[in-house]
Symmetry: C2
């Protein structure tokens, strides 16, 4: 199907928006009136520019507060419409969106609405145009799709049809199955937007918090299925009002938008199973390298391999693998520069990534080295996709060092990746679609330096988990550097034994935390005493699953390690303890 995007979805002037939409591969646009009004280009120039870019203009929008009004107002509204038809003729667009009225001047009178919309459709038809009538969720008298459909049926005019907007339809959660029964040809336009479930005024929800399909909570595949069942064959068109997208780089946002449609359409190479975290790579320098090496030793890791051709070290403990890369510049602070996931079929994983606009680029390698292609995540991290075995280890020469006893760390449990503010929702969709990781719960919590949002993604058997976090407001100058760290969490089956075996600095946990923990969870004193002794934090989910975990301080400027023990099916990340960690990391930073 053709793919369109409303100009309101992205930031910038009309020029910025058209350039971004074309570069991302869209076929067409919905032109918002405001974007035209502020443009120095005439409607004809806009038409030419769109044609040069290979973009059709699929909809002119919106025309407001038209129907069911007294006669004098009707005449003014028809005059107003003629002016817009003039603009549309110059633009070469044939469909005008008319939203259900929010005006106090409109009457609750379906017959009057239908009659007046017919008159408008007459005028449109005379110019070879047509009217798509849409029920706004906050329309004064018409606020549901089925009500707008009754009016369109009553008008029974060939140039009058429906515009269905998934937000307006799904935010009202009316009965949907009848959408499939709409007369073929009468859905003139389909607008798609996702959204999180929010308890708020629906207009504010719509104007500020829409998301691209797959980034929210709506069942868009089912909605689109119903619309297609009604014979709709126009474009899938995104209409997303989002405060963040409105101010972020339009080129990035347009790619994110296109990815959402590709994923929604679903004609993709099936995602192979992921079988685990293969390794995590840190970029280190002369300052951070020694800190990370010392910490890894203290955690029971052994420097087992040295890359054949690059200044890259492999550190291992059971299936936990860390790579320290001194060849990559990481100005100022250590960072997770790359991570690798193991796939049952790496080639197909990469094909899927490519289809989702995340093309793989080959790793620079010497003859005889493993072919590891990387895709780039929204935060710039490289993601390698390895096979389920560890063939890539052949690139490392054995150091011959006898492996340390270890401390019981078995496998990488998850990565914690602080995301850039503008790309949090993009990241969620990226991991969901490209790696087929499912969204776990999104959480918001108060932390010492502002509110935080976290969203975890994981594969079905939980051998790959990523915890994505972002500040609810873009950080300013006040936030300390430790506010947005990245980390690797390793899993143990016995955190108390592991803790006793560690020889690495642990993040101190306040005594007040344990006092509160005892009161909150009614935990036995001796159990809390053990937690306290080892600096272990605790969380419990409503089903009784438990997390025991501990942290290192921040190392090399921006990273830390975590050790977790999951009990009883605990499937979260101890988000409730993140503020404790952040405060402690701040204190540690101030004092040490």
């Amino acid at each position: 199907m053709r793919r369109s995007i409303a100009t309101v979805c992205v930031s910038g002037t009309l020029d910025d928006k058209l350039t971004a939409a074309a570069a991302a591969g869209f076929d067409g646009i919905e032109l918002f009136e405001n974007d035209l009004v502020v443009s120095p280009w005439s409607p004809r120039q806009i038409r030419t520019r769109c044609a040069e870019l290979g973009l059709s203009i699929d909809l002119y929008q919106p025309f407001r507060d038209f129907e069911a009004v007294p006669d004098t107002l009707l005449r003014a509204n028809l005059d107003r419409a003629e002016r817009k038809f003039d603009v549309m003729a110059d633009l070469g667009v044939d469909t005008m969106l008319v939203c259900s009225s929010v005006s106090p001047a409109s009457a609750d009178d379906d017959e009057l609405a239908a009659a007046q919309l017919s008159m408008l459709a007459d005028r449109a038809a005379a110019r070879g145009m047509r009217i798509a009538y849409e029920a706004l969720a906050w329309g004064r008298h018409v606020s549901t799709w089925d009500h707008s459909w009754r009016i369109v049926q009553r008008a029974d005019h060939p140039a009058l049809g429906l515009c269905l907007d998934s937000f307006h339809v799904l935010s009202r959660s009316t009965e949907l199955d009848d959408i499939a029964k709409i007369t073929p040809g009468k859905i003139f336009f389909l607008q798609l937007a996702d959204a999180p479930h929010l308890r708020m005024d629906v207009l504010q929800w719509s104007r500020h918090h829409r998301l691209f399909p797959g980034q929210g909570a709506f069942d868009l595949p089912e909605f689109v299925r119903l619309v297609l069942a009604a014979g709709y064959d126009g474009p899938l068109s995104l209409e997303v009002f989002n405060d963040v997208f409105r101010q972020s780089d339009p080129a990035r946002t347009a790619v994110d938008a296109m990815r959402s449609l590709i994923a929604l359409e679903g004609r993709l190479p099936a995602a192979p199973d992921l079988t685990g975290h293969a390794f995590t790579e840190f970029a280190v320098d002369g300052h951070s390298g020694p800190q990370l090496r010392a910490a890894l030793r203290g955690l029971g890791f052994t420097h087992t391999g040295q890359h054949r051709t690059k200044p890259v070290e492999l550190w291992e403990q059971n299936s936990c693998r860390i790579v320290l890369n001194s060849a990559v510049t990481s100005p100022g602070a250590a960072a997770i520069n790359a991570f690798a996931v193991a796939s049952a079929d790496p080639q197909r994983s990469l094909q899927r990534a490519e289809a989702l606009l995340a093309p793989a680029h080959p790793n620079v390698r010497e003859p005889g080295e493993a072919e590891l292609a990387a895709i780039t995540a929204p935060d710039g991290t490289s993601i390698f996709v390895t096979g389920p075995d560890v063939g890539w280890r052949a690139d490392f020469l054995s150091t011959g060092v006898t492996p340390a006893t270890g401390t019981g760390l078995l496998v990488t449990d998850h990565l914690g990746l602080a995301q850039p503010f503008d790309h949090f929702d993009e990241a969620g969709l990226f991991y969901h679609s490209v790696l087929d990781l499912e969204h776990l719960a999104t959480e918001e919590y108060a932390a010492p330096f502002g509110l935080m949002r976290s969203r975890a993604v994981a594969n079905p058997d939980r051998t790959v988990r990523l915890a994505l976090t972002v500040a609810l407001l873009r950080r300013g100058e006040w936030a300390p550097a430790v506010a947005d760290p990245q980390h690797v969490a390793f899993r143990t089956d016995d955190i108390v034994a592991t803790a006793a075996a560690l020889s690495v600095a642990r993040l101190p946990v306040p005594e007040n935390y344990y006092a509160d923990l005892t009161a909150r969870f009614a935990l036995p004193e001796d159990f809390v005493a053990v937690l306290r002794r080892h600096g272990i934090l605790y969380d419990r989910d409503p089903e009784g699953g438990e997390l025991l975990h501990l942290y290192t301080p921040v190392l090399g400027g921006r990273v830390f390690f975590e050790i977790v023990e999951r009990r009883g099916g605990y499937d979260r990340f101890g988000e409730a303890n993140a503020p404790v960690r952040m405060a402690a990391q701040r204190h540690r930073r101030l004092s040490g």
Copy 2:
């Protein structure tokens, strides 16, 4: 009265928060449980630290979901309370806040609630403590202050009283007069927060959008008057949950908070009348200076004066006065470095500013020069307060240049000041309290680089107006430099004549804008033709007042000039046209 602040109002760890509260002059704090839990200090250490800083701990908060529960839960809740009493004893705090329950386990049973709160009060009294019961606006069964008061009356326990929180009371807009009739001594604690009127879920409104008194829409002076009439003599304590304050510099936020209480108490030197904008000063350098001089000449200004001792020029046209200061560094772009307002009593204006924590600092001057003291606005701009005459002009030697004919610019109409993201609400309160400017409407609008918020402040006769703007989200890397400019608007009585007399580059206005204008306002074609010819924009308010205005392009990187003609009592700033301006300034920047 004593002044307190809840630790939740400001960003950082407990250490950051206490330091900020003490530096701003608060007498006490409300200690939030989370701030204690994440602190490395024991309760006794916190008590000591507060004592060192001269801060009392006035309230420990909150204790949740206590009352009207089944017996087994009651016992657990009482045990939980005893743990918190232990903490309170160590902290040296005697009042615990208990919020009305939101738990499904609680019953709608006032008698049970009163009986159980009595039991809790017994336990508190045994330790010399007391319970302040507060109706949350979203409490499950108890959500209004009068309901909580009925329960407290029914319990009739000396250690049980009310906590009144202005947000919970005023967001429900229940009848308030009876607050004055609450039995003296039974209001144990008073929490103050302001908020804008928002159509949203009350919990979200409360948790994210509270403001300090004077920054929102609540009538807090009347509320406080009623509480004091009931004999309350405890602290005025701020409890403000605000997403921005939670992540901005706590030292700044605490001063803003203290200013809000000082202004609320109102024992201040009366604000003298302001009589107009005296001058606006730009910091210029070798790059921006020539651009601004050329523009001023083109606007009909004359370089009339040269400062006796500094590289500072005075440019004038009628009562419009611009100062170009080459002695101040302004890295990268010209900026409004200072502005001067004329006061009927400058000395008293400065005393008032000082009382509101905006101390005046003397301008560096030579003998014989006018004494101009400056106060610093939240965005760093210096504000000079001159007398109603123009005695300060004696500091400038006449250039002897014959004044140009001028273009009809009469007086400075307003300044447009883009505010730093973290300090928008602070700025509104600052100008309102320090200069006694009233808040005009707050507007939000979509602009090419993201959503914008504007708030104007003005004196009663509108001889001083400031239009403050801020991006709804802190700008990121994508936003172009022209997104947050500053400007001076001059007023004319005849903008068409003025426009014809100008010899300065005007910002081009898109033809599409005029086509839309004609449709929107049903304006006569010949009128629109005149607007079009001169690049004049148009706005009309609901009462029929009209604004005609035009802009220059951005000059010297970040500033521009505007010319306005107000007709029929138009009292706004043409915010509807700001997106047109921003897009044109962006295009101008790209192309020229």
